[in-house]
Amino acid sequence: MSAVRSEKRVVRPFSGLGDVDKCLDHTRLVLNGEVVDEASLIRDATELSEDQIAIHLQVDTDLIAAAVERMKIPDVDVGFAVVASGKSLKASTVLYSAPILTASVPEIVALSNTEHPLVFGDLKGFDVRVCIVLRHDLQPRPLTPYLAGTWLAARDFSVSASRDVLSGFNPQRLTAEARENLELPEGTQTYLAITVDSVLEAPSLAEATAFYIDAALFDLMHANQSSAISQSLQVDFVIEFLLGVMGEVAAEIDALELAGSEDSMFDKNSEIGSLVMQVSAHADLSPSGLFQMMRRDRSRVRSALQAALEAPKYSRKALSQVGE
């Protein structure tokens, strides 16, 4: 299991929510019977389909009532709810919802993929929000929530299927049409397209990049995936992709004048961060060291990647089969 990130906190245009927010401090995910501190879990796809996941709610409704009273919000207008949604098909479900005055909040709410298959059986994973929410409209007052449906406090949890960091390397066929659209010369073999304004802020590699390989070449590689020459080409293309992405990230860091702070910028919470960490590890460098080298001697980063991905082994194997 790779566990990441504490729960998200959103800056909101209201004041005096502190006490009520604390009422959810003990809400946690439960993974296969164990309470976990992380709000975001990344699980192997096969594990995810077998996992028993639940939300542990240690909630005192009297404390919530007292907290909202201090905000001059009538407790009769406040509810407690658990809402979940799958990541693929916009399926949402309200797992629990009751006014706090009458709520008998269960200690555990199971996230069952038999009862809510499109939410908890989603191969990509799901999100859960536990919240204290206004059930009715109130008289509007400055800096105080008053619309029904507004949450006063919330905890967000996410469970995702893990993706290999190189899942971002999902090449596209560079057809004649694609080549024309990208304004590339005839005869182009590969092209890395950056499809977002900021790679650093992109939620995934898939959204930020598209790596194109000449369609005819790609078809041959795809049809002979296990051949030595195909594997050798794949390794070369992966290295080209990684260098291209790292180059783009380096340019962005420089443009933002953040050079030198890379060690604190990246962690495994995001795909880009995770990729940077893995490339750094392959090069036996810290993230800061990696980007220094990208600026000073990019060829050395290529060499480190070739070594880490055993590129010469694949090339030798491919060449040794040429004469067979």
């Binding site: 959103v10 909101r12 245009p13 389909s49 509810g79 709810a81 809402v83 949604s85 799958g86 693929s88 098909l89 916009k90 399926a91 949402s92 309200v94 919802s97 993929n113 298959p117 499109l118 059986g121 989603d122 191969l123 990509k124 929000r129 919240c131 929410v133 059930r135 409209d137 929530p145 619309l147 029904a148 449906g149 507004t150 949450w151 919330a154 899942s167 971002g168 999902n170 090449p171 596209q172 066929r173 057809t175 995934s204 898939a206 959204e207 598209a210 369609a215 790609f218 078809d219 795809h222």
Partner: protein, 247 residues
């Protein structure tokens, strides 16, 4: 559950071959395990293709004056897409979540089973994303995926009533930009209210983008899934008024 899938590469290749008039090479792969859904899906997709012909010919006969919103050619197409989305949803809704949330399954439907329909709907030169290819995983441009979710949202909003009419509301931009691509789609009640207000011309064309943007902003502070119909209507009315106040 065993099911057919296509990789992004194979879907892309298949589309290119079919567009070039080359023979269709069987690039399908089998995914999943347990009960085999393949024959059932293939059988259903035959029925779906017959429905496409029926709905399209009925629509041509009825002309453009049969619904409030079906005015332009694109809107007529979108109305047909909406009607057929109900057929697609009913035929596929009982498949396992592991099938329905598998990106390869949507590529298989789009490129193998629905090639002609996708070409008709999104244009003969439409991008590969209409087939769930050309991107890392199918986006909301993938025709069968967006149709299934469109009908599912309508069904969740009003399964006992007029969900088919709701799914049939023509408005490519409203569906794709303001429901499917944003969190509004996670609340069937709000999606339905927005679509009905659009169809009834309570929201004018020039206002819909602004109203949708306001709803999107509210989402960070509100949980739409917990609101009842009256509350949803009230919040939508407020956003329409606010949008008008600014114009």
């Amino acid at each position: 559950m065993m099911h057919w899938v296509l990789t992004a590469h194979d879907a892309s290749r298949l589309v290119e071959d079919l567009r070039a008039g080359r023979p269709r090479e069987d690039l399908r792969r089998v995914a999943g395990n347990g009960a085999d859904s393949r024959a059932g899906t293939e059988e259903f997709m035959k029925t779906f293709r017959e429905s496409v012909d029926d709905v399209r010919s009925n629509s041509s006969r009825a002309g453009s004056g049969d619904t409030k919103a079906a005015k332009s050619a694109n809107e007529r197409k979108d109305h047909i897409e909406g009607q057929l989305s109900c057929v697609l949803f009913q035929g596929l809704k009982d498949l396992d979540a592991a099938v329905l949330t598998d990106p390869g399954f949507w590529r298989y439907l789009a490129a193998w089973e629905m090639f002609d329909f996708v070409q008709w709907r999104d244009g003969e030169n439409c991008k590969l994303v209409s087939f769930g290819a050309g991107s890392h995983s199918p986006t909301w441009d993938c025709v069968p995926k967006r149709m299934f979710v469109r009908a599912r949202i309508a069904f969740e909003a009003d399964g006992d009533g007029n969900w088919r009419d709701l799914a049939g509301i023509a408005g490519t931009d409203v569906w794709r930009s303001h429901v499917l691509r944003v969190k509004t789609g996670n609340s069937p009640a709000l999606s339905a209210a927005l679509l009905e207000a659009w169809d009834d011309q309570v929201i004018r064309t020039k206002e819909v983008r602004d109203v949708a943007k306001r709803i999107k902003r509210l989402r960070s502070n509100m949980v739409f899934e917990l609101m009842d119909g009256e509350q949803i209507d009230a919040i939508l009315s407020r956003q329409i008024e606010a949008a008008r106040g600014e114009t």
